[in-house]
């Protein structure tokens, strides 16, 4: 399991490839890997969003992400999990969050990935502040629902 919070941009596919290279035990053993990548939209609540500042509670955010991943590993049959979360200045289309899980079978991988993402959205102490097209800033007060 790896949980990482960083101001550095996340280049999803090369990062995923290097993680799998570093974990040869996954090769040939997992039948399913589910990758969720959350990107920054350039709109929110009918306004154009130019940039975003992502703040977190250092220490508690890492602890909660690790707790959430551990709960997923206790509930479903997972071989490994990776959670990357960006903080600091973020531009539209940048990757904000990546959740990857590896399992022998897809049902566990799908369910665990969604659980981790929804728990992260509701429990992990991160906050978004948007800069709108006119330069005004506003805090995001709530996340959009994770179900259709």
């Amino acid at each position: 399991m790896l949980v990482e919070i960083s101001e550095q941009p996340i280049d999803v596919w090369p990062r995923l490839a290097s993680y799998e290279d570093e974990h040869p035990e996954l090769a040939g053993q997992h039948g399913a890997s589910v990758v969720f990548a959350g990107r920054m939209r350039d709109f929110n609540e009918d306004e154009t969003v130019r940039q975003m500042q992502l703040e977190h509670y250092p220490g508690m955010s890492e602890k909660f992400l690790e707790d959430i991943v551990q709960r997923a590993m206790d509930e479903w049959s997972l071989m490994d999990a990776l959670v990357l979360h960006r903080v600091g200045k973020i531009n539209p289309s940048d990757t904000i969050v990546v959740v990857v899980v590896w399992s022998a079978h897809r049902a566990h991988a799908y369910a665990a990935n969604q659980f981790i993402m929804e728990a992260l959205k509701s429990e992990a102490p991160f906050w978004k502040k948007e800069t709108l097209d006119d330069g005004q800033t506003r805090w995001v007060e709530k996340n959009t629902p994770g179900t259709v």
Binding site: L54, M60, H85, L120, K121, F126, W127, W139
Partner: protein, 77 residues
């Protein structure tokens, strides 16, 4: 004998400080930490509180050396 207090995001801007430190003597609950650091009698139910990085309610007990944090609903991911 002190309790470290942290404020985050919009709440940090509203109270005008990122952190505070108060004397632990006579302070027994999270609500009393809020009253002493922010000067408001009640804690709005939408504000989240944590003691030593675990979510707690306003009546949770605090003691010397604790880290108490207050923040708005989370919006990560």
């Amino acid at each position: 004998m002190s309790i470290e207090v942290k404020f985050f995001a919009s709440l940090r801007e509203r109270v005008g400080k990122p952190s505070d430190s108060i004397d632990a003597n006579g302070v027994t609950t999270v609500l009393e930490v809020w009253q002493q650091t922010v000067g408001e009698p009640s804690l709005d139910p939408h504000i989240l509180a944590a003691v030593n990085m675990e979510y707690v309610s306003a009546d949770h007990a605090v003691c010397d050396g604790d880290e108490v944090a207050f923040f708005p609903p989370v919006t990560g991911g």
